[in-house]
Symmetry: C2
Subunit: 873 residues, 2 copies
Amino acid sequence: MNKYVYSFDEGSADLKNLLGGKGSNLAEMTTIGLNVPPGHTVTTEACLKYLDEGRLAEEIKKQMKEYMEKLEDKMGQKFGDPEDPLLVSVRSGAAVSMPGMMDTILNLGLNDKTVKGLIKKTDERFAYDSYRRFINMFGEVVRGIPHRKFEEKMNEVKKKRNADKDVELEAEGMKEVTKKYKNLVGDIPSDPWEQLVEATKAVFASWDNERAIRYRDLNGLPHDMGTAVNVQVMVYGNTGDNSGSGVAFTRNPSTGENKIYGEFLRNAQGEDVVAGIRTPLDISDLKDVWPDIYKELKGVCKTLEDKYKDMQDLEFTIEEGELYILQTRTGKRTPNAAVKIAHDMHQEGIISKEVALLRVDGKQIEKILHKRIDPDADLDKLTKGINASPGAASGKVVFDTDEAEERGNEDESVILIRPETTPEDIHGLAASEGVLTSRGGMTSHAAVVARGMGKPCVAGAEEIEINIEEDYFEVDGEKIEKDDIITIDGTTGNVILGEAPLIEPKFTDEFEKLLRWADSIRKMGVRANADTPEDTKKAIEFGAEGVGLCRTEHMFFEPERLEAMQELIISEDKDERKYALDKLMPMQKDDFKNLFRAIDGKPLIIRLLDPPLHEFAPTEEKRQKELAEKLEVDRKKIKSKVERLEEENPMLGHRGCRLGITFPEIYRMQVRAILEAACDVKEEGQDVSPKIMVPLIGNVRELKNIKKRVIDPVESKVFVDRDKIDYEVGTMIEIPRAAVTADEIAKEAEFFSFGTNDLTQMGLGFSRDDAGTFIPNYIDQGVLEKDPFQVLDQDGIGQLVKIATEKGREEKQDLSVGICGEHGGEPSSVKFCYKTGLDYVSCSPYRVPVARISAAQVVIEEEKEVDEGVDGY
Amino acid sequence: MNKYVYSFDEGSADLKNLLGGKGSNLAEMTTIGLNVPPGHTVTTEACLKYLDEGRLAEEIKKQMKEYMEKLEDKMGQKFGDPEDPLLVSVRSGAAVSMPGMMDTILNLGLNDKTVKGLIKKTDERFAYDSYRRFINMFGEVVRGIPHRKFEEKMNEVKKKRNADKDVELEAEGMKEVTKKYKNLVGDIPSDPWEQLVEATKAVFASWDNERAIRYRDLNGLPHDMGTAVNVQVMVYGNTGDNSGSGVAFTRNPSTGENKIYGEFLRNAQGEDVVAGIRTPLDISDLKDVWPDIYKELKGVCKTLEDKYKDMQDLEFTIEEGELYILQTRTGKRTPNAAVKIAHDMHQEGIISKEVALLRVDGKQIEKILHKRIDPDADLDKLTKGINASPGAASGKVVFDTDEAEERGNEDESVILIRPETTPEDIHGLAASEGVLTSRGGMTSHAAVVARGMGKPCVAGAEEIEINIEEDYFEVDGEKIEKDDIITIDGTTGNVILGEAPLIEPKFTDEFEKLLRWADSIRKMGVRANADTPEDTKKAIEFGAEGVGLCRTEHMFFEPERLEAMQELIISEDKDERKYALDKLMPMQKDDFKNLFRAIDGKPLIIRLLDPPLHEFAPTEEKRQKELAEKLEVDRKKIKSKVERLEEENPMLGHRGCRLGITFPEIYRMQVRAILEAACDVKEEGQDVSPKIMVPLIGNVRELKNIKKRVIDPVESKVFVDRDKIDYEVGTMIEIPRAAVTADEIAKEAEFFSFGTNDLTQMGLGFSRDDAGTFIPNYIDQGVLEKDPFQVLDQDGIGQLVKIATEKGREEKQDLSVGICGEHGGEPSSVKFCYKTGLDYVSCSPYRVPVARISAAQVVIEEEKEVDEGVDGY
């Protein structure tokens, strides 16, 4: 006969698949000698048998009964005894915890008779409170009655008895609630054994409910594992002054300090601690109240850390002076605490460097590097948008870009609010504390620029309605006017009214050390996307080993340059274009010189002009007029030219290398500026390592064309009387066609850099500006797991990355391959890049530390040097 | 010692690589006994040796001299003899003819002395005309002097002598021109031998000129073949009344009739026949003039057709009563002639069915099926746009869609002119003879709709400036107002002022027979893209075996439906949407019933709604107002909803299955209409074969979602009390991600249909609406060979098609795979589809015959059953 039930002292962590996560954990704690309330686990095998047969087999019931009898013997109590009833909790516990699974029934064993026994042991109010809770949970879990129906009944009683909160109901009130609940549920068995059988079947059946199935589908979990059921004796912390309940962390989850942290309440149940009705005492006060218990608890913490080798979050109850450990789990912690705990535990010899690195979560790390809102602050939240660039900032609301620039430059704190930003808004954005837009997503213009600048951005806050003309926005009936103060949290997407208290970022010694460990382990390079010397320096400070993407277009937005750029755009022929380019050339050259100086010999990948010309075009009538006057041309000419530049689908339009092919003089100017700048800085005695990147190549002939008509002729002019400088020419791989013909392209390119933003747009057919209308719905419905603009779609776009890398290397074994899309700083995407064989990732400076950690983690994960039992949290 | 020179009677067609195309042809004709003016060929090996060594080797010169001496012996003339000089032509001739290669020098051997001898034989004017031509050609070919310099000199003389045309110059004038040319060229050698050596070297060198190299690059031709040089004795048709020149076709190149066709001139050179100064006689008149020559010529024609097994176009000269054949080549012919000749030659037992099929060019065939402009007409061409839908039409210019509809429906012939069309223009387009747009390309809305309707369309005529408000357009200074008549030629892209004479299309018996031969050979199915019962019937008449794409969106544009659709769009919730859909449902059902009746049991693939909702939205204020009144809602609501629907990149926006996922009720209505219509028609006693196609799938989860939330529930409702009908559910493969994850998608799809229009847009990152700004430039520069929206980009997009087909079949061996993009009717793309293993192609009805022919050709080509020597023309 199969064994379908294990008591906690029979089980162990090895039996996780059979006993589920919770069951094996309880068994483990029991085994290492902690005082866990006794109980047993009905196995996942029993579950599968039940699901298969559609009924609970007699042999399972028999074993369940046997173990209940053992429990009765152990506790000296009887199930259903009206004097001193044995009460148990029933909890589900699959190997992996899963939303949608039926969870917990407490106080099972209560009925109209046994409740009297409980009254004797505690008091009437508590007993009926426990009883009505049992009926509620049984009703929900076993009978599928919606939670709100119970709430309605509760509210009826509270109203009748003038009670605002549940706790204000006295014993009589609770008794009345109990009665109403019983009527609601109807056929609740009074026999505790029947209660247990029904509860067990309900938990088993919930394995196959829709939400659980979908969760497993989404997470690639098998459907044939089943869930276990844990039956555990109830203990009560509210049986008198010699009892109590509490929660404890083995270390401080907020700072990481190695000291027990937590709180407790005398004569109270665990939920009272959490509910916050009575103020709990600090765990250190336990020392004074019950010094022995405190000592014992410290020992338990030590035992648990020794066992689990990680900070634990445990629940305990003291019943009549006896300490019970109800549960332990890996404790959640702040990013800073995560770093400190990982670091300290290695220093203390508990875990290896590798495990320490796995303990920090890339997504969390990013938060360390930005200002954030004090998590304890009370906030007046207005709305939520997309968390497009992390960090938080407060300032006065300003709607006009020029005004934002002016006031920002006078050291006023302003937040720029726009429906969406265009390159013409960059100067205003640069002077603001942050930017809030009502349209666009993670890769909208505002988001990309803000991330590059390390400024917070909340994008696509669709609920707000902006009235630019009258300088206000409305959200949910509230009107926010110019100069009102708001706070935006680009880490969460929250928009808050007023000035929220902010916490400054810290880069602790522990963090520095972890990053150095990561560097010693990782095999993939980390570079940064940086367009200015300031960004470049910041990136190097954060550990970047070069610049993987310098976007030259951002250099054209200072007023003087934008004007020259606009002259260029309205040029009718080559000569006019040349005239405008001659103005731009010295400025570009200066830009590049400063970049070469800032990067100090590390590789600098400069991308030639990428956006369509209409992004620079003067679209407002006023500006067209100004330009017309300044350039002494007919305004109509400007207007007509600007209109002709408009495109139906600009993302698929006349941009990138297509510009370089139709207007080679623009690229020639840029290449000349790069090469001359490199020569100049080299002559200053500094190393330079320039790499010219041609964007939007889809066909090797485009690259050939640019090399032949742009790069080669410029090279031969620049180096005619100067020492030749080594430089490389490579390309973005961002068009699906480029990926599938990468072998051809590799013949002409010395490096590849995946532009996964565009590759995602084209590969998925999602416009990043428009997909916001359906992506949230897709995620809700489980069609997408994640926003593919935030997390690389490994199965689809990743396939293209893989194909291109393989084909490229087939042709050119030592081809340098990297990524410079936004995904280059996203942990799971960084790991994918390593597994796909990329040489480096490049991301915004603030995400460089994230990339360094993630790149180390994937090496560790791959090498399977991870200690057993150290799952992530 | 290598043999570098072959006399014509030594060579043969087998030596094509050594002798070049022209040389081997001359040798071949000589061998089969035709009277070819004698000569010899300097081989391609000599060319390569020259290019390699940078000088003409002595051994080559020696052989050249030897063969010149043989020629002198044969002709009884001497090179440089002032009495009776031997004159020769020198022509290049590579194995493949190539633009940019230096071509011809005539009359080589003339100098100030030998010209006297020529005067004796002919007359002074002719002799100096020949001399100046020699100098001109020598100057251009050997010295690289631009052609216009010679023209300038000629014009000087003509002006001085009051001559309008060259022919008006008398002997003295020609003498003066000769002198001026000599001064222009300068160092022209007088020794004929030196002339020959220099000419040979120049021809050899031209192998490596830039244009020739680029041509070979573009066409994938090897660079190491070299060109040969042909030296041939000059013969003259203008030595008296016993001489003459002419051209002849072995069959009528216009009708295909099996009768010699051509013309000749007595006492004239070949170029006089072509120049049209004197009116040539019909070749049949030769019978009366010189019956023997006529008989001989007929024999030559027969010999040539026997030899080449195709209609030949030959040049001949009669010198002093002797017939010389100067050249023969496969004759160009009209599409109708091509069909007739191919058919007849098979009937005459000259060629096999397979060869007959290879003789018709898919691209030409299309022209048979449409009206076309009489090629002999004098036309006043206004401009040229993109040839977006074939055929020609004349009509009055109309700018307003409603007006076009009204007048068109009253049987007036109108041409609709719009900057671009939207679905709101369909009713006007349907009533017009054709449409002309100033924006958009091959796959613009106007083009797609016009092709579907079989109406001519010239799209993207960028030179015209349309003023919609004032009802006129301007082009090149000319103003065309409403009601002016124009003719558009959608086959060439030409726009013509006035009513051009049109030729009605003919579907000859011969063509029908060829198509039946094609059907017996091809292995791939041919279906049509058709949205209406009329189109469907037309398609079946043209041989379609089903409908591969029925676009349901075109059904929503009739006024009543558009209104319901617009109601749908402005709906704020499910109930409002349902109300609008309930109106549409019976109409859709009726549409489908008529389609099922029209298609008579053949497969009918119906695509669910694809375009974004804003395509149906009322964008004009007037219409918004009307709708607001009609529906009794606030106009602002309509306006705001329409604005919210706008997208930055609609091509990558909220469309296709994305609509079906966010608004499943729309797709449910469509699926219900399809299934109920199928049931109804089945109950009428007719077979039905419905296939539901879900567009824009990028992720298998989308298809799962639609099946689960749309198709399955509708099926279970429809078939609850009706007999179940077999139907299939499949998907478009038009998103790159779908291609690379096709194995996953095949798990849920019963068929794939490649939407290569979208796949091209996304795979290349080209918006079909915008790419017109750079594609022409790309083609000019050789970055692209062809417009990828017209001819499938086999190396890039074709890769995706291949990957998807392989992955799909890996998962599901019997997966039906087809194509329904515009490429499905383009010959080279059809062939690619067959080679990639597709089951069928689907194209607009008018291209179905093209697809049938092409699908047969590729089988024949693959099976290599082609007779040797029968190259295409």
